[in-house]
């Protein structure tokens, strides 16, 4: 049945791209290029290297921001999940942050941190971090009591319980949080490039738009979405490799 699912995926891709192509040919709007034109622009930009230069710029705040959010987020999440005082103190902040539209903070970040890498990294962080922290802490809190007890009854030390039971048990939810965080981070990185200073892919988008080179604009958008999806798939693979037995959830469910 793998063939069926693969061919259906291809079929649905073909349908979507064909719809795009047709819409572009009608055209729905003079500013809406066809699929083939966009792909052509993408190939051209790949050939002459513009796209790589752009991604070198875009990925900087993204990678730095996501790395900081992941390390700090998981760290804080573990801490908040394990200690009721920190839970009380920090959880509300992150709960509010997760619910709130932090994009509104961007003008302020620009005022406070200027327009360099710092602000952009911060935008990525404020988008990505809350969900990572909240997922990690709730995963840690929800570690099945019985396997923790099992650890205790087999004389595991606190560190072993933490490293060999709590963290592996929490890993699926932590990874789910990471995935959400990374995708929010992508949103943040693009937002930063559209809102703070146009560099990298954001620059291709705004500049092509300003000179009415719509195929390039669509090519850039297409490529960033593709990149996000590839990146997230990679993360999923990583999780499967790291925690094999977790795939089916908890045995005690």
């Amino acid at each position: 049945m793998l063939n069926r699912s693969l061919s259906l995926k291809l079929l649905s891709a073909v349908i979507l791209f064909a719809a795009w192509e047709i819409a572009g040919r009608i055209p729905v709007s003079f500013a809406f290029p066809t699929f083939l034109e966009s792909m052509d622009a993408l190939i051209r930009m790949t050939r002459d290297g513009t796209i790589f230069e752009a991604y070198a710029e875009t990925l900087q705040p993204l990678v730095v921001g996501v790395a900081i959010s992941a390390v700090l987020g998981i760290g804080i999440g573990l801490w908040v999940g394990l200690n009721s005082f920190f839970d009380w103190l920090f959880s509300p902040i992150f709960i509010v942050m997760q619910a709130a539209p932090l994009a509104a903070l961007i003008p302020l970040l620009v005022l406070a941190y200027g327009i360099g890498l710092t602000s952009k990294v911060l935008v990525v962080c404020i988008m990505a971090m809350p969900v990572i922290v909240l997922n990690t802490s709730s995963a840690v809190r929800n570690t099945p009591e019985s396997i923790k007890e099992m650890g205790k009854s087999f004389l595991a030390s606190d560190t072993s319980i933490m490293l060999k039971i709590i963290i592996p048990a929490a890993s699926p939810v932590i990874f789910a949080g990471l995935r959400l965080g990374v995708s929010a981070g992508f949103i943040g990185a693009i937002l930063a490039e559209l809102k703070i200073t146009p560099t990298g892919v954001g620059d291709i988008i705004t500049y092509s738009r300003s000179i009415a080179d719509y195929p390039s604009m669509y090519a850039a958008i297409f490529s960033i979405i593709l990149l996000a999806v590839l990146f997230l798939n990679l993360l999923e693979r990583l999780e499967t490799v790291l925690f094999k037995g977790n795939q089916r959830g908890y045995v005690s469910d």
Binding site: P144, K152, L155, P168, G245, V251, S252
Partner: protein, 268 residues
């Protein structure tokens, strides 16, 4: 109610003819307002299997966890081999009702987990685990993950893990309740031979009267909260009649009926 000859007077009565591996003395346990156990004393003879039987919510799990050192009693104390229990120790191993396997670890790693926690070197602990995996009949499944096993097989992993740390006391909380009836019958027979062959003390919680009578050397009946020991029964005479005959022994059937008569009123 007619007292059968095998039924002893209530709690704390003379089990002095046996040496106690575990003794609980005047244990009380409150969960906030809820009084789960009150002033419970009970002796567990060495090398024998003692069942705790009683209606749901009467405090069987609570008592078992207090013995395991996972819970602190509100008052009273537990001694294992004459030493007071203050926490989990290498002399006791727990078999959990819901198996409590690590879903991300192979059967091998799960069975070796107890030894891993005790700092046994990898090659050594795997050799030991290997042996017990074979013993419980799971040879060939060393590299499987728990989700690839049936309920009965998972419970055997839990059992192998408890056996591999070679504790003198095995605490089993409804170990067979999640496996189907026919498998369960098989397990009961296996358990009997385990008690016979290994010189360990078993403490066994169950809801099934037949199961308790079938596998136990001593049965402690607890009544609803706040729980104390209602009576202790020592089925003695049918032990040697062989696995196949126990279930039709009249003493066995008498005991089952007696227990059923005393518990019946508490069911629903």
């Amino acid at each position: 109610m007619v007292m059968s000859p095998t039924k002893l007077a209530a709690a704390g009565a003379a089990t002095s003819e046996f040496e106690s591996a575990v003794s609980t003395r005047n244990i009380s346990k409150n969960y906030g307002e809820v009084e789960a156990l009150r002033d419970l004393s009970l002796e567990f003879p060495r090398g024998q299997l003692t069942s705790l039987l009683g209606p749901s919510g009467c405090g069987k799990t609570t008592l078992l966890k207090i013995i395991a050192g996972l819970l602190e009693p509100t008052s009273g104390e537990v001694e294992v081999n004459g030493k007071k229990v203050t926490g989990p120790g290498p002399d006791r191993a727990f078999v959990f009702q819901d198996f409590a396997l690590l879903p991300w670890a192979t059967v091998m790693r799960n069975v070796a987990f107890g030894l891993e926690m005790r700092g046994v070197a990898k090659s050594e602990r795997e050799a030991i685990a290997e042996k017990y995996i074979k013993e419980v009949g799971l040879a060939g499944f060393e590299q499987s993950y728990p989700h690839e096993l049936s309920g009965g097989m998972r419970q055997r992993v839990g059992l192998a893990r408890a056996l591999s740390v070679d504790a003198q006391v095995l605490l089993m909380d409804e170990p067979f309740s999640a496996v189907d009836e026919q498998t369960r019958r098989k397990f009961q027979e296996d358990l009997l031979s385990l008690v016979q062959n290994e010189n360990k003390t078993f403490i066994f919680v169950t809801h099934s009267i037949e199961e308790a009578v079938y596998v136990s050397d001593q049965i402690a009946i607890l009544l609803p909260r706040p729980s104390r020991v209602h009576e202790i029964i020592r089925p003695s005479n049918f032990r040697d009649k062989g696995v196949d005959n126990i279930r039709r022994d009249s003493e066995y059937l008498d005991i089952v009926d007696d227990i059923w008569a005393s518990l019946r009123t508490y069911v629903e």
